[in-house]
């Protein structure tokens, strides 16, 4: 057998093996998370190696425990979900509100410093977040806003606005300027042309950008830890899970239910955004 045949035959066997192992490595921890969230702690301790749960062992009390408020003997995750949701949605709304006009300006309008501004915004991302965290921590402590969700919201907007502008600008660049020029001939002002022509065309990009921002804000940990740690009623889901996983009192299976609650919205959104993003890109290509 020649070297070529040997290699091809080996690859034919290896390829599915590699793919299988990668899928296993990527997905198994999430499967384990889901499985443990439906088991009882006693069951896990008695049989830690189980690869699937016993049917008679299955129960949903972990979810009730983790969601119930602290005063009812639970862990208060319902409250954390509300906090995370408020901060994430607020971040999306405010970021889009400032970033859409900004991206449009950087893409379309000639003004002094237009080219430099993108570089300035992006260069900020190469500073460690912890460096930025120090002065913000000091600042919000001094103005007495540390511990409030509003402070966190402002910081998140500042963190994602630049990337958001960068993503949206790339999309605006693909929309032909001639469309707006036609609108201008018809008597539209710049802002009208932007609102009525380019913005509707950019909707798929804006939607996927919104999901992207939501995911970042929902997943964020460092600033939530620094700002909110002393205010349990303001904890986000990420922070709540991290803080409670350090204590021995809360059963691991209950916290696994918390992990599922933290992860599930992101996974759902991720699959949605993949679909939308793909749709958006092809739609743009047809129109371009």
């Amino acid at each position: 057998m020649s070297r070529d045949q040997l290699e091809r035959r080996a690859l034919r066997v290896l390829r599915p093996v590699v793919i299988g192992l990668l899928v296993l490595a990527a997905a198994f921890p999430f499967y384990y998370m889901l499985m443990l969230s439906f088991r009882s702690l006693g069951g896990v301790l008695a049989n830690p190696g189980a690869l699937w749960p016993n049917l008679d062992e299955l129960n949903f009390t972990t979810y009730i425990d983790v969601l119930k408020s602290q005063s009812d003997g639970g862990q208060g995750f319902l409250r954390f979900i509300r906090n995370s949701g408020l901060v994430a949605l607020g971040t999306v709304a405010i970021t889009l509100f400032v970033a859409i006009p900004g991206a449009y300006a950087v893409s379309r309008l000639e003004f002094f410093g237009r080219r430099q501004i993108g570089a300035l915004f992006l260069s900020v991302y190469f500073f460690p977040a912890i460096l930025l965290a120090i002065p913000l921590f000091v600042f919000f402590t001094r103005v007495g806003l540390r511990g409030s969700l509003v402070a966190l919201l402002i910081v998140y907007v500042a963190q994602v606005a630049a990337v958001s502008i960068y993503m949206l600008r790339n999309y605006f660049d693909t929309i032909p300027a001639s469309l707006e020029e036609a609108a201008a001939v018809d008597g539209c002002t710049r802002l009208q042309a932007m609102r009525k022509v380019s913005l509707p065309l950019a909707l798929p990009a804006i939607a996927s950008n919104a999901l992207f921002i939501f995911m970042i804000a929902w997943n964020e940990f460092l600033f939530a830890l620094l700002f909110l740690v002393e205010r349990r009623d303001n904890w986000t889901v990420s922070l709540g899970l991290a803080q409670l996983s350090g204590s021995i009192e809360v059963p691991t299976t209950v916290l696994m239910a918390g992990s599922v609650i933290l992860t599930l919205p992101i996974i759902v959104m991720f699959f949605l955004s993949e679909k939308w993003l793909a749709g958006g890109l092809t739609a743009g290509a047809e129109k371009g």
């Binding site: 590699v18 910081v155 907007v157 790339n170 940990f221």
Partner: protein
Amino acid sequence: MSVGHGAPAVERPAPQTRRRPRSARVKEDRRAGYLLISPTFIIVFVMVVLPILWTFSLAFQNVRLLNLRQTGLLGDYSLDNFRAVITADGFVEALTVTLTYSVLGTAGAIGFGLLAALALRKPFRGRGLVRSVLLLPYVAPVVACAFVWSTLLNPQFGLVNYWGTELNLWERPIAFLSESTPVSLFGLVDLPITTALATVIAFEAWRSFPFAFLFITARLEGMPGALEEAATVDGATPTQQFRHIILPQLMPTIAVLTVLRFIWTFNNFDDIYLLTGGAAGTQVVTVRVFNYLIARGNIGQAAALAIVLAAILAVLVFVYLKLFGRKEEVA
């Protein structure tokens, strides 16, 4: 972040409208431009640029959480904080750990990303789903990932230790996240890495390989197939084709990935804080900064150490670009 760094901004010709009142149009555009960009500019300037500058001011002053209210912009500036953090116990070790973590974490992420991209190159049924599944570690919340990993690796009831001892892969349960014994290579050489550090490196590779996978897949799809077909006709084997045709074309992408992943891993705080808290030989500089800030309440020293971290990173990236940046352009 995946879109945060693509090709450098394309220089587009200025929109030319050949209409009469040109200067009026230009003036209107300029005014609208400033108007539209200013909200973002103000937020980023006030919440990002000013704070970074302020960090420098804090780093040169004796600021603590306790005397925070008394310190202003103008205080007693000195280099004491820098002197203190650089000569402190464990600084050099933290730096070594950070470098080891960043280099091996980056290499691991890119290596597995490359492997995944190559394995998924040929279409097959269900490839789209497999791709999405492989991206899960990257999109899932870091807190949940770290919690599942630490449960999986738990010495008492973790699945990994159960099967590891059951199948005689190792004798006693291993405390993967708190053991500071060095990792030995086939029982022969002790590597300068603790078990816990190896585990957090594996975690970093696991969480970041999808990012490399995405980048490399995009590049592979843009590659013309003609070269490989010609090589097949000439009798090049698959590994020869990879070595001489595919890899050279991927090098620029891998170079960009290396810089990005290295920067992000170097600056990473969440993963190690959540997995080990910096114990058992995993204390990276960012975790140290956090400890200065929160545990000791020494804001000045925390700021100084953060600046040292950023400066070291800047030097490393600069050297890398000097060494490899030119070559890539020629290639």
